[in-house]
């Protein structure tokens, strides 16, 4: 039985640049802001929509009109009422301007209107399969119109004291130390939230974060807070629970970009050899604590329309060598960019270098920091590069972008960075996005996955598992497909 009161001590890492999730969408911002801001919907762990600010919704037969009914009595943290005008402002004006990822999805939208205070209607230009999947708080957070309309969004002073509708209010932020949120007494769902306050502890060092948990300073370690090597040890502690749920919406999928344009990586046989050469089982067990899964396809198994029916690459150095012999690889050195996000990734790059070395591929690891890595990818200045991306529940949102040729452009590391071009793949993705029925979509996506696994435009690694670790007496911490990012609305601490 849920009880009220108590405080959650959570690790946040790195320190977010800002909590205004409409302007900044990086991981830590989303994690904290999910308590302050809200979207129209939430998604359960099967990615089915759940009410949030919208208490109900309807989709027209032709899949072109989406009507949302809003919750009553919702107030912004400053006391102003939340209305459909806020929704229209947020989606149509504010986020269109500031939210690059949402902007792409909104291209399918013809109009957003508010027939009355409590109703919002989205009209699409053509059917868009994943449309119901873009309403969670990280993708489409609601922004207070009365504060932002007509202002310079970026420099609005309110950015420092974010105002949302969420279960917790912003209270204090001591830079370099902690962020404190307190219970929103006027929250529209009666009795919620249970917690009095949340402390987000900024602890920049992974080892210190582990110590913080062990010494009882923090009680919740969101996924990725501690190095994988520490997970097992910490999970074995008394009163400690661990869950890998709460990442279904993101489906973090890791791979190595392989530069399809030039060098040995331009050869399909080389890319296949890379797949065979890598010992992903070893990486998974030695580096990822056996969490996560081997990625056999461009689509994560938690994302819709995943198929298992593809060409699989098991660790097989002999095959790799044969492929290399066949293509006549001359030992040319390939540059490998590790992901500059901590020790695990560094080790992984070293392991891959070693794996590839064993089949005769000469790898040179190029060290970069985050800025350099971003720039090198955006400018296509690499041979192989680690990365992981989110899939947002639907191949049309989080998969197609990396393989379709219209997405080959410098300046971004989320598009088709590898430079893979296949008209057939382009066409299949295009059809699948606007196909109306699930069956139709599944068929198209299966075909695309089969083609891609044959061509190996990138070398898939793992579907990453980012377990959340917490004291077992913290209940209902992870209830939705975005886990901790969805705020601690339902969480409570058992005596």
């Amino acid at each position: 039985e849920p009880v009220s009161g108590g405080r959650a001590n959570v690790v946040i890492q790195p320190e977010p640049p800002s909590l205004m999730v409409g302007l900044v969408q990086n991981g830590p911002t989303q994690m904290v802001a999910g308590n302050i801001y809200e979207g129209l919907l939430r998604y359960d762990t099967d990615l089915e929509p759940m009410p949030q600010l919208a208490k109900s919704w309807e989709v027209s037969e032709d899949g072109l009109t989406y009507t949302f009914k809003l919750h009553d009595n919702v107030k912004w943290h400053d006391g102003e009422p939340f209305t459909s005008a806020d929704v229209v402002f947020s989606a149509d004006k504010f986020l269109r301007e500031t939210h690059a990822r949402l902007r792409t999805s909104l291209e399918h939208v013809e109009s957003i209107t508010a027939p009355d205070e409590a109703t919002v209607v989205f009209k699409l230009k053509q059917p868009f399969g994943p449309f119901m999947g873009i309403f969670e708080v990280g993708t489409m957070p609601m922004i207070p119109k009365h504060i932002y309309e007509g202002t310079d969004y970026e420099n609005n002073p309110a950015n420092n004291t974010p105002i949302g509708t969420g279960p917790f209010k912003f209270e204090e932020w001591v830079k370099g130390s902690h962020i404190r949120l307190v219970r929103n007494e006027d929250y529209y769902e009666k009795g919620l939230p249970y917690l009095d306050e949340i402390y987000w502890h900024v602890i920049p060092d992974a080892a210190s974060r582990a110590v913080a948990y062990e010494t009882g300073v923090v009680d919740i370690l969101p996924g990725g807070s501690v190095e994988n090597f520490d997970v097992q040890r910490i999970a074995a502690m008394d009163n400690t629970c661990i869950t890998d749920k709460g990442w279904e919406y993101f489906g973090p999928h890791s791979w190595m970009w392989l530069n399809n344009r030039e060098g040995p990586t331009a050869d399909k046989r080389f890319r296949q050899a890379v797949m065979y050469a890598m010992d992903r089982e070893f990486a998974k067990s030695a580096l990822w604590n056996d969490l996560g899964k081997i990625a056999h396809s461009p689509v994560s198994s938690s994302t819709r329309f995943f198929t298992d029916d593809v060409n699989k690459y098991d660790h097989d150095p002999e095959k790799a060598k044969a492929l290399l012999d066949e293509m006549g690889y001359d030992g040319e050195t390939v540059r490998l960019l590790p992901l500059p996000y901590g020790e695990t990734w560094q080790r992984w790059a070293e392991a891959v270098k070693q794996n590839l070395g064993e089949v005769g591929i000469n790898v040179e690891i190029v060290a970069t920091d985050v800025a350099g890595w971003n720039q090198k990818l955006a400018e296509w200045d690499y041979d192989m590069a680690f990365t992981y991306l989110y899939q947002y529940g639907d191949p049309a949102l989080g998969v197609a972008r990396n393989y379709i040729s219209s997405n080959i452009a410098k300046g971004s590391q989320w598009n088709n960075v590898e430079g893979y071009e296949n008209p057939k793949v382009d066409e299949l993705f295009a059809q699948a996005a606007v196909a109306v029925t699930k069956e139709e979509r599944q068929q198209l996506y299966t075909e695309v996955q089969q083609i891609l696994t044959e061509d190996v435009p990138v070398a898939w690694l793992l579907e990453l598992g980012f377990p959340t670790i917490y004291r077992c007496n913290v209940k209902d911490l992870v209830t939705t497909a975005i886990g901790v990012n969805d705020g601690f609305k339902d969480a409570y601490i058992e005596e």
Binding site: V174, S177, H201, E214, D369, A371, A378, S412, N415
Partner: protein, 322 residues
């Protein structure tokens, strides 16, 4: 004296500006920029997004124009705005500075006191086992990599023994006030300050010992003995004071360097100081913050040099002030 100080301040200002200019170009020579980093973290971005960011930060202007704008600001005591943290750099730095100063000054004072004390003891017992012990310890401290010592200290004292907090500045959320808070911060301070201090302690110890021994060879010590003075008085009044002169110089140099020199300690102990701020700003290419930190720590170095010089002039009457 005033004239001397003013002169030195003027000189310092010129050096500072030179440092700023060099750092400016240095830092901008790095691949990537804050827009790239922020775009990288955003989870999605396109050309427009990045172009917007750049325009917002003024990064689309020619480099020299940016430099001009920056220097113009600095001359008006404005260190610019942090792209990343969305707040004025000066605020950011001054919010972090106290933590660093607390850490480094504690380490500095501990190491100076204990180091000179140990040095004096060792020099008084030169050749005996206690001298050997102190000198050996000092050498060990000197040779131990700081970050390694820090790791081992955390492992031992906070993890295994659970005596002391292993990271952070204070118990966040405990909301202690008054003396309780001081105590709390004090507890957090022990490990980082000690590990940071160990190295300097060794430095001071070795320096004091050598200096004491050297001074004790000087003629005026013989004079003092010829007067019939007791050796304790000779040690204190004649040898120690003279032996301290080089130590003061060194202490001044290090007091300044401490501000920027605590990066490792702050990283290992998650101390919310300026060194860590610098390291993070570097990773994020938060140019203004980086420049600001360099500016402040260089200013500190210059300030401490000045203080040492002034002090020196008090300690040593031979250096006269015009």
């Amino acid at each position: 004296m005033l004239r001397f100080i003013l002169m030195r301040l003027g000189k310092a200002a010129i050096i500072l500006i030179a440092i700023l200019i060099l750092n400016f170009f240095l830092i901008h020579a790095a691949p990537g920029d804050p827009a790239a980093v922020m775009a990288g973290e955003a989870g999605a971005a396109d050309e427009k997004f990045i172009a917007d960011l750049r325009a917002r930060f003024g990064l689309d202007k020619p480099l020299l124009t940016q430099l001009g704008i920056y220097l113009g600001g600095v001359l008006q005591f404005d260190l610019g705005f942090s792209y990343r943290q969305q707040m004025p750099v000066a605020d950011l730095i001054f919010s972090r500075l106290p933590a660093t100063l607390l850490l480094t000054m504690t380490a500095f004072v501990i190491s100076l006191l204990l180091g000179t004390l140990a040095g004096v003891l060792a020099s008084a017992r030169v050749g005996k086992w206690s001298d050997t012990l102190i000198s050996t310890l000092a050498l060990l401290f000197y040779a131990t990599p700081l970050f390694w010592a820090a790791l081992m200290a955390v492992l031992l004292f906070s993890v295994t023994l659970n005596w002391l907090p292993g990271f952070g500045y204070e118990t966040v959320g405990a909301n202690y006030t008054g003396f309780r808070r001081v105590l709390d911060i004090g507890q957090h301070l022990i490990l980082p300050a000690t590990t940071l201090g160990l190295f300097f302690m060794a430095v001071y110890m070795r320096m004091t010992r050598a200096s004491m021994l050297e001074v004790s060879q000087l003629d005026f010590v013989k004079t003092a003995r010829a007067k019939g003075l007791r050796s304790g008085i000779i040690q204190r009044r004649h040898i120690f004071r003279n032996a301290m002169l080089p130590v003061v110089t060194l202490a001044g140099l290090q007091a300044g360097q401490l501000v920027g020199g605590a990066v490792l300690t702050e990283t290992v102990f998650a101390w919310p100081g300026i060194g860590r701020l610098m390291f993070e700003a570097l990773a994020q290419r938060d140019y203004n913050v980086l420049l600001g930190v360099f500016f402040v720590s260089s200013a500190m170095v210059l300030l401490f040099n000045l203080i040492t010089d002034v002090l020196y002039r008090f300690v040593d009457p031979r250096i006269r002030v015009g």
